[in-house]
Amino acid sequence: MRNLIILVFILLHQPGIAADQKLELLEEKQLFSGSENTKTTLRMLSSTDTDVFAPTIDIFLKDNPSLSIEYLVASSTDIDTLFRQSPGNYDVVISSAMDLQLKLVNDGFAYSIPNIQHPDWAQWRRSLFGFTLEPAGIIFNKEYFENIEIPQSRQQMIRVLREHPELFHGKLATYDVRLSGLGYLFATQDARDSETYWRLMEVFGNLDTRLYCCSGEMIDDLASGKVVIAYNVLTSYAKARLDVFDSIDWILPNDYTNVMMRTAMVSADSKKIKAATAFMRYLTTQAMQTTASDKTPLPPLQSESSDFQNSVIPLDPGLMIFLDQLKRRTFINAWENAVIQ
């Protein structure tokens, strides 16, 4: 399959697409082709790293050789900006920020797919479909914890951090919720779940935590030992990073675990509705197969090893609350007060 894929890294500032002022927001761009001659090219805007999503695309293109997929990667907040600016330019939008995706659907940007079978809890308006279940965990550097008890919950982590402030000062990592859509989603859900979150953030703030925009850098720094604990990082990202597999490990806090669904939607302004819909059907079908985890690093909705369905962040209009300007301002204020000291 790999040999069919034509990898094309295109310089982002090429003529022809330079007209799109916001294109510098794109981080990666890659073209996958089902065969030599393809008629239809689906433009996919995604927050998932290309190498993580590539296996999923490969399987789809094997069954649909007449299609090719232009895969564009941006951060979840940039996806929202790009897509709202020109919804006709993209056919499929995939993002880890459930709240932003739900708001896009609410605002009428998504195409409602008729007769699609998907569980109610994993879809909204037959327009937004969750296709992964990914828990946020605490990732740590294994070497560092050889002599220290590995915390299993947030309370334990607070205790461990307070007991060894000298060990952890400047060595903690979490998302900068002002920059990361996914970080903001996890932070707001944490704040909903428990007051422990605020105490934890205060501890993080006291220990001069480093703030990251993206999970990749966090994991890089974890592997190199620059930081030793990263809080609220998708374990699936860690799993996918085979290069650092030996040096890092993770736990899912046993007090509560936030589970996120990666969601996908078809643009209402797409001119390739048929192909985009076919991709969605494939994506949702695959998400319901427990065997899918053998083929792609993305954990499917149905899994034999873990059951996260009860702790998944619900796809309902409540997600839009934290996107409200006043609410966001209030939350960011509280977060800044706790973390930045």
């Binding site: 659907v105 609410n106 605002d107 009428g108 109610d120 909204w124 308006r125 909903r192 619900p314 309902d316 209009p317 409540g318 997600l319 839009m320 609350i321 409200d324 300007q325 006043l326 609410k327 301002r329 209030t330």
Partner: protein
């Protein structure tokens, strides 16, 4: 009993009643369906309104003035309470006086809204019908008091699905109700019609001479009809009685004077010698005979018509009846030297009116006697098979072929009857009697001359 008179039928009471009921129920059912739907729509809208209202209230409650600025820590439930099975979209806007603080800029307030109270309205937002609620609260703690206005709008997908479900259920209920009502109306109409059917049966079952009034109780609505019917039957009974009386009376009153005239004429004939006068008297006697016979036959015919319409059914032994007749007619036959031979099978029985049968056979034998030459033989056979029948053969001239069908008409006489006394009613009477008993009269000629008349039952 000979025929059922054709009844002119227009419509059916039962059908009319059933149709009226069903049409009424139909209108009622359709009305009921729309009332249920209207009512359901109101209730469904009310419940959506109350949730919208709760959402807005919780948002208003979350507003605080902090450092001269409005801060709103909107609870998660403000929006999650609006989640519906159909995943309805929600839109909101928060205004401080006329200035948008947060939310959808295009979700405007109604121009008439005066910043007090809670207002609901249905509008189109983003090309979708939505239900909008607007509520407000006065903010204190700012330099000047300001109104905080929150509006939330929700699409109506769930509402329409609910309404569709309700409409479907209502339709099923109404349909079930309608079917029950149809069965009921069929039952009701047949129950209502039942007394009429019972009356019809009791009248139909009656014997021909039973003209008693109907006495069994009937519903009030049928009383005038039954009363008229009773009245009619009474009049019919009276009229029939009168006719019978009249005929009997007439027979007596007519025959006696004619007989007197005849005997006077005969006596006078004995006394008159002048050939001219004798001829006149003979003509007179002939005319008298003819009159007597005609009168007799006319009265017989009238009697037969009367009795045939209400036929008496009693067992008759045909053989015995014929034997008696032959005995009584033998003297008349002897006058013309005619021999009557009777060949009667024993025990030929029919059901009928013996007076009528006797009359018919007498007329037939009379005819045979009249048209037979002197010194001839009349053969009478009574058969049981294939049908009970009486066959009379004479040795007269027989019938003209072309006349046979007409001879049974009233007052119709054959061409060879010239010179013979007759009224033309004899065969008519026999034919009428045969028909009254569901039998037939067959007129043929024997191949060796003479007429053959067969009366079968």
């Amino acid at each position: 009993m000979t025929d059922t008179s054709v009844t002119n039928i227009s419509g059916s009471l039962r059908r009319r009643l059933a149709i009226t009921l069903i049409v009424g129920i139909c209108i009622f059912a359709v009305l009921l369906f729309f009332i249920i739907r209207l009512y359901a729509a109101q209730i469904a809208q009310q419940s959506q309104d109350s949730i919208l209202s709760a959402s807005v209230t919780s948002m208003l409650d979350a507003a605080k003035v902090r450092d001269g600025q409005v801060a709103m820590d909107i609870p998660y439930s403000s929006f999650s309470m609006l989640a519906t099975p159909q995943d309805d979209r929600i839109f909101y806007a928060i205004y401080q006086d006329d200035q948008l603080l947060s939310g959808y800029e295009s979700l405007t307030l109604p121009e008439t809204y005066n910043n007090t109270g809670t207002v609901f309205r249905s509008i189109d937002f983003m090309d979708t019908p939505v239900r909008q609620v607007i509520a407000s609260r006065t903010l204190s703690g700012l330099t000047t008091p300001a109104a905080l206005i929150v509006t939330v709008a929700q699409t109506q997908d769930n509402l329409s699905v609910t309404l569709r479900d309700i409409a479907k259920n209502a339709a099923m209920i109404v349909l079930g109700f309608f079917l029950l009502a149809v069965v009921f109306s069929a039952w009701a109409s047949s129950t209502t019609i039942a007394p009429l059917n019972r009356l019809t049966q009791s009248v139909t079952r009656r014997g021909p001479k039973d003209l008693r009034p109907v006495t069994r109780p009937v519903p009030a609505e049928m009383a005038p009809l039954v009363s008229s019917l009773n009245h009619l039957m009474q009049r019919l009974d009276d009229s029939l009685n009168q006719s019978e009386q009249f005929i009997t009376e007439a027979a007596h009153r007519v025959r006696t004077p004619i007989a007197t005239v005849r005997s006077h004429a005969e006596i006078t004939l004995q006394r008159v010698d002048k050939e001219e006068n004798r001829q006149a008297l003979k003509a007179m006697i002939r005319a008298t005979d003819e009159t007597s016979r005609a009168a007799g036959q006319l009265l017989d015919h009238a009697m037969i018509s009367l009795r045939a319409s209400q036929l008496n059914s009693e067992p008759i032994d045909l053989s015995e009846l014929i034997q008696e007749l032959v005995r009584s007619l033998t003297p008349v036959a002897d006058l013309k030297d005619i021999e009557i031979r009777l060949d009667a099978a024993p025990d030929v029985r029919i059901h009928g009116d013996s007076i009528l049968v006797q009359n018919a056979v007498r007329n037939l034998i009379d005819n045979a006697l009249k048209y037979s030459p002197t010194e001839s033989t009349i053969n009478i056979q009574v058969r049981a098979n294939p049908k009970p029948s009486i066959v009379i053969n004479d040795q007269g001239d027989g019938f003209f072929h072309d006349e046979k069908d007409k001879l049974t008409d009233r007052f119709s006489r054959g061409r060879n009857s010239t010179g013979t006394i007759g009224s033309g009613l004899g065969l008519t009477i026999a034919n009428d009697v045969a028909k009254a008993h569901s039998g037939s009269l067959r007129i043929t000629n024997n191949h060796n001359g003479g007429a053959c008349v067969t009366l079968s039952f």
